[in-house]
């Protein structure tokens, strides 16, 4: 029996993908946990960010810093397009509009007519080249035991997690300021905050833009270790982020980090265990039936979290953000 999957699964806790999910979830925490905006289209922000980064890098040959800038600008624009008409809507309307907008993005980029720009349904490959060109780490293999990282892996990981920590710091600084007080007040009751002389719409917009930019950057980070494929940005991605957010705690700064790490470690561990069980013929399932199991786990986790521990792992019991 090969138990290597255990250290490999634990290694998932620090993988760049985990960092990307954590970053996108921090954005979602700004939206949902702190401001009370039910954004079901965070996958759309990631797609916008990812495409902006990839298109400016691959099709326009922009250097890395400008591509990052383009990512930010595109996310801000998407936030405005989404926010200006919808932020006055009720919470459940907003959720439907955002999920629809994310799907519209995903379906539109797949159109064959704009294949030259977006790569159609095959997506875009090689967007990380300009980023890896900046890699100061000498080529080689780094790591302990079976957990090995190449120099590009390591570089992506370092930059990714630095970005995540920076985002945490930013959100932490904002949330302890009067600005944070206002958005939290909006989450509780926007009319009350309006009655106290605050421009609620403007603050909701600022929060949407902030969370959206974090989502967009996460989208760019997400495609550094892989190619960009439109179907990665389906509604499921958003729901994974919700699971991660609720796992860690929707109103916490470090919840997304913890949630994302646990999410990926658990999924990899369960995959590993299942493979082990199937290969040894201990489990009465075929290897093709293994695939759906992780999603079944996520689905149940999401339901059980909301019902039994809505505050997540790091949240305080009282800070249950859900009220009747």
């Amino acid at each position: 029996m090969n138990w290597n999957f255990i250290p490999l699964a634990l290694g998932e806790a620090i993988s760049p993908t985990t960092a990307a999910y954590a970053l996108a979830t921090i954005g979602l925490v700004v939206h949902f946990g702190f401001t009370g905006l039910v954004n079901f289209g965070q996958a759309g922000f990631m797609a916008v960010g990812g495409y902006a980064f990839a298109i400016t890098t691959l099709k326009l040959d922009w250097p890395f810093p400008f591509a990052v800038l383009a990512t930010i600008v595109a996310s801000v624009l998407f936030a405005f397009v989404l926010g200006i008409p919808t932020l006055r809507l009720r919470a459940d309307y907003l959720s439907i509009v955002t999920i629809a907008a994310a799907e519209i993005i995903r379906l539109s980029v797949k159109t064959a007519e704009i294949y030259d720009v977006t790569g159609g349904s095959t997506g875009l490959n090689g967007a990380a080249d300009t980023f890896q060109a900046l890699n100061p780490i000498p080529p080689g293999n780094y790591g302990i035991g079976v957990l090995r990282f190449t120099a590009p892996d390591l570089w992506t990981m370092i930059v990714g997690w630095a970005l995540v920590l920076l985002a945490c710091l930013l959100v932490w600084a904002l949330m302890r300021s009067p600005w944070g007080r206002i958005v939290k007040g909006i989450r509780e009751d926007e009319d009350a905050v309006r009655a106290l002389g605050k421009n609620v719409f403007s603050y909701k917009m600022q929060a949407l833009v902030l969370g959206g930019v974090l989502g967009g950057l996460a989208g760019a980070l997400f495609i550094l270790p892989r190619s960009l494929q439109p179907d990665n940005y389906g509604t499921q991605l958003t729901f994974f982020l919700y699971t991660i957010m609720l796992l860690g705690g929707a109103t916490t700064i470090f919840g997304p980090l913890l949630g994302s790490a646990i999410f990926w470690v658990v999924l990899s561990l369960s995959d590993g265990l299942l493979t082990l069980g199937v290969d040894a013929h201990v489990l009465p399932i075929s290897s093709t039936q293994q695939g759906p199991i992780r999603f079944i786990i996520v689905g149940f986790a999401l339901m059980l979290l909301v019902i039994f521990r809505p505050q997540g792992i790091l949240g305080k019991r009282i800070e249950v953000f859900f009220r009747a």
Binding site: L174, S177, W179, K184, G185, D189, A195, R323
Partner: protein, 303 residues
């Protein structure tokens, strides 16, 4: 209290020193006219009570004046400035602050954070300046001091760091009023400040309202309890079916047969009739705020 008015007491009478003047304000929900106020003036530096039977349009009128609802017609001035069409948050910034019939304590914020939201901290509320604590710390400390003082006055100082959600109904009313005072408003508009407050707290609430007047503020409040009105109001405006039907000092208004009629008339039909009538109003309304309030009221009556 005839020194407040510049003419004979009658609906829409001119005041010597009006702080708020409204003209031709109407609001229709579908076929139903909820508010139709021809002309009304609210005297400055006084306590004015807005009374009337259920469904008279008092809360809707409040919502219109404070920018929480949009009228079909009408305009009004506050301290001489046009206010019609001004968004709610700007209305508040100009010194006209309101509370809500169903209290809106921000449950998952601490009591002190609730208070601090009441005032403005220009630097700290700006996205970028918020990242530099030096820019807003001093102002925040100053506001905290003020908030603590108000909390002591409203006997909420022991709850300072608790979540507002843990307060009792009456304490929430107090908190909401104290929070409104953080911005030193010129006009405080209280929507049923006594509703749901336990009788022991009523007296202290009344004292606070009287104190506001002593500090030079103007108070306009909606109230059902005639004892309260008699006790603290300098002037009473009576609404029925959306219009102002009478105005005067508490004594004269309460002996006015038209007012008694309006009240008795509404209370004759009793429960189910009134419940139905009001819910029909609610269904047609376009402002969710108004609806939730009316519905809450109905649910309260139903119990």
């Amino acid at each position: 209290m005839s020194e407040l008015i510049a003419g004979e007491p009658a609906p829409g009478v001119a005041k010597r020193d009006p702080i708020l003047v409204a003209d031709h304000v109407t609001r229709r929900f579908g076929g139903l006219t909820a508010v139709d106020v021809e002309h009304v003036e609210i005297p400055a530096h006084a306590i004015t009570a807005l009374i009337g039977p259920n469904g008279a349009g008092k809360t809707t009128f409040f919502n219109l004046l404070t920018g929480f609802d949009k009228p079909n017609t009408g305009h009004w001035t506050f301290r001489g400035e046009q206010l019609a069409g001004v968004p709610a948050f700007r209305v508040a910034r100009r010194g006209m602050v309101r509370t809500f019939q169903l209290t809106k304590a921000l449950a998952l914020l601490s009591v002190i954070d609730n208070m601090l939201l009441g005032a403005s901290n220009r630097a700290g509320e700006n996205f970028f300046a918020a990242l530099v604590p030096a820019a807003w710390r001093a102002r925040d400390a100053q506001l905290t001091e003020k908030a603590d003082e108000l909390l002591r006055k409203f006997r909420l100082d022991t709850k300072r760091d608790d979540y507002a959600g843990s307060l009792s109904g009456g304490q929430r009313k107090l908190l909401e009023m104290a929070r409104a005072l953080m911005s030193d408003p010129a006009l405080v508009m209280l929507d049923e400040p006594m509703a749901g407050v336990n009788p022991a707290l009523t007296q202290s609430l009344l004292r606070h309202i009287l104190e506001l007047k002593e500090q030079g503020m103007t108070v306009l409040f909606v109230e059902h309890d005639m004892h309260v009105v008699r006790e603290i109001a300098d002037w009473v405006v009576v609404m029925a079916e959306g219009s102002v039907v009478a105005e005067g000092s508490p004594e004269t208004v309460m002996s006015d047969p038209a007012v008694i009629d309006a009240y008795l008339g509404a209370h004759h039909g009793t429960d189910l009739g009134t419940v139905r009538g009001r819910l029909e109003v609610a269904e047609g309304m376009e402002s969710e705020l108004v609806r939730s309030e009316v519905e809450g009221e109905a649910a309260g009556d139903g119990r």
